[in-house]
Symmetry: C2
Subunit: 199 residues, 2 copies
């Protein structure tokens, strides 16, 4: 078996499998996701997938890692280093529909709900979460150093923003709250302007 690759090292085949996993999740949800369904989207046999990923859990953990890398790529597109603008752009990226449709949000919520039972998936969710909060914390701490923000506790401030993001994703997936992402963007803006901004 080949070793699954990270970041820019993913082969064309691996990237195609990631795309197939995305489409299969949207179509079948998480509970009914099978390697066969992913193989059908991929247009090859399940053996061609097992060459890279031993088990479905390995594949799903790799898929979460791929989503994180895509998010990091989009963050790197942000060229400004001004803390307020960087934080705004991070929140824009965390709270748009760009990651996908409602079907994808539902599948991700199912996967999150199964994380307690699935070590590989849970650990990758935790890594994605830690990295995202690290990005938020860093820009809030930088902004506090430069006097734009006055965050007493950048770690807590980043946790606050992630609570708002995770709440929106859950509400949109679970009860179909169509406005959840927009409401969350507005709430995050209020939090930044009223709690974090220096006077």
């Amino acid at each position: 078996m080949a070793e699954p690759s990270d970041g820019d090292e993913r082969s064309e085949a691996e990237l195609k499998i990631m795309g197939a996993t995305y489409r299969a999740l949207c179509e079948h949800g998480y509970a009914n996701l099978t390697m066969q369904a992913i193989a059908e989207e991929y247009g090859k046999s399940t053996a061609a997938i097992h060459y890279y990923y031993d088990t479905k859990d390995d594949l799903l953990a790799a898929f979460l890692s791929y989503l994180l890398d895509k998010f990091i790529d989009r963050v790197h597109e942000v060229e400004t280093t001004a803390p307020k603008e960087r934080l705004d752009l991070l929140l824009d990226r965390l709270l748009t529909h760009r990651e996908g449709s409602r079907d994808f949000m539902i599948a991700m919520l199912e996967m999150r709900a199964q994380a307690p039972y699935n070590e590989a998936v849970r650990e990758q969710f935790q890594r994605n979460d830690e990295y995202t909060r690290y990005l938020l914390k860093t820009v809030i701490a930088d902004g506090t150093d430069s006097g734009v923000f006055s965050a007493e506790d950048p770690e807590h401030a980043s946790n606050s923003l992630m609570l708002i993001v995770d709440g929106a994703r859950t509400r949109y997936g679970s009860i179909g709250d169509e406005n959840a992402l927009e409401e969350a963007r507005r709430t995050a803006r209020e939090y930044v302007e009223s709690v974090l901004m220096a006077e």
Copy 2:
């Protein structure tokens, strides 16, 4: 079949079935929950449960309605009518471990993730959510009328607080973020004090 009852009208048998459902959810999670497992906790046959609830989905929707009634009972214990204190107590009740253990939070998150596929459960989740936001909105609007708060949009303010609550429940259940409820209580306090309080 008897008609399932609401609120104070629940019979002793129905209340015992609700307790058995709670224990079975904690022990087996949602995906592995069976009527047989609930019957074992109840100490009677599955037929004795089916007398009240046609299907497992009916039972789970009734269970969510029971949780809402328990929450409303606890809210009614709050005797103060002062808006700031009432809002604080509502948030305390929404963000404590009192509803149960981590196991219960995990089972509830699983149920939320299945809501898109299950109409009875989804509609009851929506009712619980609407009622809770209605309570929050009312106290915020009352407080704005009396000059304690200065909320431009009490509906949005209540949505903001629910985003924080739902984010905490998801994080605690999914990735086992032990501090999620406490962090969310602190975030909600900051939001109330910095965004909602009148100058």
